[in-house]
Symmetry: C2
Subunit: 111 residues, 2 copies
């Protein structure tokens, strides 16, 4: 099973809808990059049980994304504001450039 | 009970996580502006049952927003891009202005 960046993004988006146990195991696996055994041992559960929990939780996250699509939308907005930021650098008027850059920074904080 | 704009936004954000029945009743009440009796009669349920379903579903939506905050974030991004759009109108260089306006349009489609 590849540790995909996609699930890090989905976890970031929808992690708060998971149970604490689901979120904890997913973060150890996807963000801390621990192995199934390293996750299972301290919890007293087998590698197979950890894998099974991860798979079930992946499906929960994919289901949220299929219904809401926020991860893809936020990622698309991120790409657009990166291009606006590049363009804004070429605005000769400092005040206008700063105003637009400030708004881009505001959007970044909301993503 | 005031028919608040907030629930129209939350319904727009999280409506796909509701059951078809919940979403249907909420849309009739908040988007089509039907009364409790107008909603309940064709479904064969009392005004009180409709009200109770609406209240329960409002809490579900508020709970999603409390955990994910997407409605507020998207609304904040919308305000920022409106200000970027106003500013972009003053960019003298047509090509740069068009590029930035195109990206703003792309973001609008994702909101």
């Amino acid at each position: 099973m590849a540790k995909e960046l996609r699930f890090v993004m989905l976890l970031d988006c929808y992690g708060d809808l998971l149970t604490e146990h689901q979120r904890n195991v997913m973060e150890l696996y996807y963000c801390e990059d621990l192995s199934l055994a390293e996750i299972g041992n301290p919890l007293g559960i087998t590698r197979q049980a950890v894998l099974s929990l991860i798979k079930r939780t992946e499906n929960i996250l994919l289901n949220y994304e299929e219904k809401l699509g926020f991860a893809e939308r936020l990622s698309g907005i991120r790409a657009c504001i990166d291009r606006i930021r590049s363009g804004a650098d070429s605005i000769p008027d400092k005040k206008l450039r700063d105003n637009i850059t400030d708004e881009i920074d505001n959007i970044s904080k909301l993503l």
